[in-house]
């Protein structure tokens, strides 16, 4: 048993983190309350695809890099930490669905960035099906050729060409969110979620994003509390804020541990794998949400502005909590 990252895994973390800090610095949006730029610039998206980010955890036979779920989780934790925009999660999940279906041509198109995939979440906890009808919430709708839907039993890829997407004025303005009514939309691929642990992978990678956010929003809060002074002392010296910080750290420690435990449990095909993945998702969501709330409080008036960054974590988490499976359904299934 070893729950610590290997030097090779550390290297993945470092490379991704360095790239994100340089290319996607986390900033406040200031006075722009609507998105005016694409969710992710084309060149940047291409660059990320060229780095192999969409194929990190795909087998070499399927055209991937051949790492496991733990490495993918490291990648997504860093994407969460850097609040990266772009259809990474949906791209990776779709590549796995396509690989499971044996469609290597589509896998190649997805991981090379030639086609883009949105993430579909059914509103009424319907299962993905060969011919889907129902209300769908979509994230990363921009330039999406396909949508991937991962549900507990079935996972599917749908073509978006005949689907009318109604844009949503997203609480997180940096993400392209939309709604659609699917009316007998035929799945390009429909596979069992169990066959290659697709549902578990979706839960774990979403959890990884949340864990990254929980860690980063804690870090900026701790930094702020060291430099902001009131009553002649750094505010971090007040017990009230230390209490928040200590709980933020505890939540991160638990959520991150459960994240990697679950990732390894899925790879090792534990019988409890699904429950582990659900627990990872639950803990990660709690950590990201509560840590974000504390971050605003610790920043005082500055936290209530869009010139500082705590709200970016709160609004991003608001979206991440609402993808794949909602909280109460996650708890019910544990």
């Amino acid at each position: 048993m070893d729950m610590m990252q290997s030097p090779e895994q550390d290297e993945i973390e470092r490379t991704v983190a360095a790239f994100l800090t340089e290319k996607f610095p986390v900033r406040g949006h200031g006075h722009s309350f609507k998105r005016t730029e694409p969710e992710i610039a084309d060149e940047l998206w291409q660059e990320c695809c060229n780095l192999g980010w969409l194929s990190l955890g795909l087998s070499e036979e399927a055209g991937g890099v051949g790492y496991g779920l733990a490495e993918e989780a490291i990648l997504f934790r860093e994407l969460g930490r850097g609040l990266a925009p772009g259809p990474f999660l949906s791209g990776v999940l779709a590549a796995h669905v396509a690989a499971t279906a044996g469609d290597h041509e589509l896998v190649a198109k997805i991981i090379s960035g030639e086609v883009r995939v949105a993430l579909a979440t059914p509103l009424n906890t319907d299962e993905a099906s060969a011919s889907f009808s129902g209300d769908i919430s979509l994230v990363h709708t921009e330039r999406a050729d396909y949508a991937v839907m991962i549900t507990p039993n079935k996972s599917a890829i749908y073509a978006m060409e005949n689907v009318a997407v109604e844009p949503v004025d997203s609480v997180d303005i940096s993400l392209a969110v939309g709604r659609a009514k699917f009316d007998n939309v035929h799945a390009l691929h429909l596979v069992d979620s169990g066959a290659s642990s697709l549902y578990e992978r979706a839960l774990i990678l979403a959890a990884a994003i949340s864990v990254g956010m929980a860690i980063e929003v804690m870090r900026i809060s701790v930094e702020y509390s060291k430099t902001r002074e009131q009553f002649g002392k750094p505010i971090g010296s007040f017990q009230a804020l230390k209490t928040y910080a200590a709980y933020m750290a505890s939540r991160c420690e638990l959520a991150e541990s459960q994240l990697f435990f679950a990732a390894l449990a899925v790879e090792a095909r534990f019988e409890s794998a699904r429950s582990e993945a659900l627990a990872a998702r639950f803990n990660a969501n709690e950590a990201a949400r509560i840590n974000g709330e504390h971050a605003i409080q610790i920043h005082g008036g500055y936290g209530y502005t869009t010139e500082y960054t705590p709200y970016r974590f709160v609004t991003r988490n608001h979206v991440i909590e609402r993808i794949i499976t909602l909280r109460s359904a996650v708890i019910d299934a544990i």
Partner: protein, 393 residues
């Protein structure tokens, strides 16, 4: 002790209810943060005044009704039930600027300013916080130098809500830099149109820009703008804060009692994520909703008690901090439960947090409650140190 309202109070409630039902604006409050809002808010205040509903507890001499706190409470209750518009730009003048003047200003200051506030002729804002002085308000450094019969003000304030559309400001300045920090402050009525004032709007997480930074570059105000004595501004500021943290929140507390019912109603109709039952049929949600309702009921009772306590003393005491603390906690819980129940619909930004109700804007707006008017951490210090007498940290 009794819960009986007098015949007179009951008939007052009837009148308020009928009048609000018939006269509340049909147009919603404009969403932009500019002159439109100012005009809307002032017009509504003017309507209230013209119909005898402004300054219910204020002295008659300055245009009020002098009906006392219970009438005020009845007004707030009916106002919340009627879903009448948020006070908006009138908040500072009505809730703490005016009351501070009533308690501490000279006859001349009161006669000049109070009727203007009640008639909806002016907007007031609050210039207390500075970039370096938020929780530690007494460390403020905007300075005012006495020059003959004038004060010359230089410095900066921040988080001044509605400064960009305000006419007057409750301004705290340092008039004696050598005195201990609480002893060298003065509370001044600042004319926001005076030369030397510049304003920058700050964008907020609820997509508004009513928050402002205000810069003072040798702004000259008559010395007669000081409220209370020169260098005695801290004690005046404490009355302002006791109104802000006490009666100022009464309306918001009462609004919680209507919002929880609204959320319960949504939960009764909306399907929970498993698609098999409504949120209200889901044990977890039903218990969360009803226990929150129980807490809100208790907060309502505490408000009644605070009002009764205030009727026996001149100004609200530090106990007001308990109400503010609990109110912001419960409001955050309610708003969070609200977006949880809205589920995927809550992905869309919508609603207005000031008009109450269940919405993503109300949820984002709820973050302000534990910061504005003194943070919850500071309120906890006040309750433990000033109400309970625990040693200072």
């Amino acid at each position: 002790m009794d819960l009986e309202f007098t015949l007179e109070e009951r008939s007052f409630r009837e009148q308020v209810r009928t009048w609000l039902e018939e006269n509340k604006p049909s147009e919603p409050r404009p969403k932009s943060d500019d002159l439109e809002q100012r005009n809307y808010d002032l017009a509504w205040q003017r309507t209230l005044y013209d119909n005898g509903w402004a300054g219910i507890a204020w002295p008659k001499a300055y245009g009020g009704r002098e009906l006392g706190t219970i009438a005020q409470l009845i007004w707030f209750e009916e106002y919340a039930k009627a879903k009448a518009p948020y006070l908006g730009a009138n908040f500072v003048g009505i809730n703490h600027g005016g009351p501070t003047l009533i308690a501490r200003a000279t006859e001349e200051q009161k006669t000049f300013h109070l009727p203007k506030i009640l008639k909806g002729e002016v907007v007031w804002c609050q210039g207390f916080s500075e970039p370096g002085s938020g929780s530690d308000l007494a460390s403020l450094s905007t300075k005012a130098v006495v020059d003959g019969d004038q004060l010359v003000i230089t410095g900066q304030k921040i988080w001044t809500s509605f400064a960009h559309i305000a006419d007057y400001q409750e301004l705290l300045v340092r008039t004696d830099p050598d005195a201990p920090k609480h002893k060298g402050i003065s509370w001044v009525i600042c004319d926001m149109h005076a030369p030397g004032i510049t304003i920058r709007q700050i964008p907020t997480i609820i997509r508004g820009a009513e928050f402002c930074e205000v810069f003072y570059d040798e702004v000259r105000l008559p010395l007669s703008s000081v409220v209370g004595n020169l260098n005695d501004g801290w004690s005046v500021a404490m009355s302002t804060l006791s109104f802000e943290r006490g009666t100022g929140f009464m309306a918001a507390i009462i609004e919680l009692t209507t919002t929880i019912e609204e959320l319960i109603d949504i939960a009764r109709h909306k399907k929970s994520p498993d698609g098999k039952r409504t949120y209200f049929q889901d044990d977890e949600y039903r218990r969360k909703l009803l226990s929150l309702k129980a807490e809100i009921m208790a907060l309502r009772s505490a408000t009644y008690r605070a009002i009764s306590r205030n009727m026996r003393q001149d100004a609200p005491g530090p106990e007001g901090s308990i109400l503010k603390l609990v109110m912001s906690d419960l409001n955050q819980k309610l708003a969070r439960l609200g977006v949880d129940i809205l589920g995927i619909e809550a992905l869309a930004f919508g609603g207005s947090h000031r008009d109450g109700g269940v919405s993503t804007a109300a949820w984002l707006g709820s973050f302000s409650g534990s910061i504005a008017g003194g943070t919850s951490e500071i309120q906890r210090n006040i309750v433990s140190e000033r109400v309970l007498g625990m040693p200072r940290g």
